[in-house]
Amino acid sequence: MHNFIYPNEIDLQWSILIVLYPFLTGLVAGAFILASLERVFRVEAVKPTYRLALLTALSFLLVAPLPLQLHLGHPERSLEMYLTPHRSSAMAMFGFVYLWYLMVVLVLEIWLDYRRDIVLLSRSSTGFLRVIYKIMTLGSDNISERALHIDERVGWVITIIGIPSAFLLHGYVGFIFGSIKANPWWSSPLMPVVFIFSAMVSGIAAVMLLYMALTKLRGFAVSVECVDAIATYLFYIFIVDFSLEMLDLIHRIYEADESFRSLDFMVHTSLWIPHVIVQILLGTLTPILLLGVTQVVKLAVPVRKRIYAIAGCLTLVGIFAMRWNVVIGGQLFSKSLLGYTTYKLQLGSREGLGTAIVLTLMPLGILYVLAKLLPPWQQHETT
């Protein structure tokens, strides 16, 4: 505690779990946008990641509500948000945005895309797996050319709906913070836009890393055209994302409203390492620079792949730091603008680091199971 804070402000209200929530939904939205590049914009080069991106999005989306649920003082009442939502509350819309995205967009698109495979697997597999695949067909086992053509058309329409939905999913998370006028660190109409672009950056980086790691683990060769294309998209979207964040920063510095002195002090003290060092220098400028080098200089394939891997990891660190700095940073200063508090991250508590690590790893476990059930790999991979 430093100087004066209101007496009820000593404890931070939103913990690392609330940092995790925008991080996870960001990965979902970003992964889906990458998948839609192939589906809608016909970017053939990224095809090897299409199904993996969809399964990644689903794995992370399934875990996304858990940190919120664990954070509630009364988790047993969370259903009330669906049954009696308060229409003026941004948070009350969470359930509907989430369900729309999960059921109408993601699950439906994955099902349509995999329907032929599911039907074939339900015929070829035996025992318990056969039952699982039978259930997954939902009784629809027509895989005639005409039926598959309809699947393709409907899937295309869902992807078209899915792109604005992905923007809605994560822009909405940004709105939850950006619409709080009591908090000058959050209150900004740019917040949802910054969230959308940072989501795309993190999701694309995550799928690129997963594709490279899983392909290598399976003993196949990583498609260079594919990772080159993904890295190019990542580079340009990252530049837009960084420009937006800098616009927000420059605007704050130039306008220097009543909160500026307080926030400026915070950025130069308690947020110096997570914001300036980790988020901006290590997690944004370095990967942009690394990806920029690959765009300008003709480097050997192994070098390029290594650079992509490093840039991808740093990007995820940077975007996690961005979520941290928004959520935790926004609670480190007093609304009196006269003092500061600190966040004590616990290890083993319900909202501690241990829970956060488990929740971060959980989607990878789900992805493993999904990839076993619904293999996302192309048939003509080279070793």
Partner: protein, 246 residues
Amino acid sequence: MNMNRRFFITLTGAAAVAWESVLAGAPEASPNYKVADHWWAMLIDVDKCIGCGNCVRACAAENNVPEGFFRTWVERYQVDDQHMEEPIVDSPNGGRDGFPARPGTLPASVKEFFVPKLCNHCADSPCTQVCPVGATFTTPDGVVLVDEKYCLGCRYCIQACPYGCRFIHPEKNVAQKCTLCYHRITKGLTTACCEACPTSSRMLADLKNPNDPIHEFMKKHSVQVLKPQMATGAKAFYANLDGAVR
């Protein structure tokens, strides 16, 4: 005490009925109170506050406020005329135990005063707006309350309150704040803090009552609200409020 079997059975039966009503949480009846006839507010005369902490103690006792949390508190300001934007503020234990004198004498350029704080019972309250289930609501007579049986404990309301008036009850895990002693004012009583204030620095006001002294007071004094730029329709009105107060 001489207790026979019949008396014991009667007593346990009555106790069981009473306990059921306690468990049901039925509010005490206020048959003569009409919500449509009132629009509650609080008037605070900063010049009259002596920082005794009576209000904080009375509130804590009346409402079982948990240790370390505050439905009302008092802040001490020291403002140097050379540094208006950097006042020195403190509120040890919310001002509950009064304020220890600061060492030395105040320089001539510094003024010192006390500012009682509580929920502003905003007409357009951001906390009510953001509550995902409507557990926080505004009563027809203008008091912002929390339904403890409905609150999820998501803490969005705490983030949305510009004045730092809300907290999570450490045992109940629900949001809590000043209720303007709704259980008292609906029975014709004043709030615990107003009753305990020795200088009448705090005055409960009913804006719908034409005979309420608030109308005369507002006419004769310069009255402000905290953080007017937030446009929350705050109803804690401050007389003689210094511009340095946050």
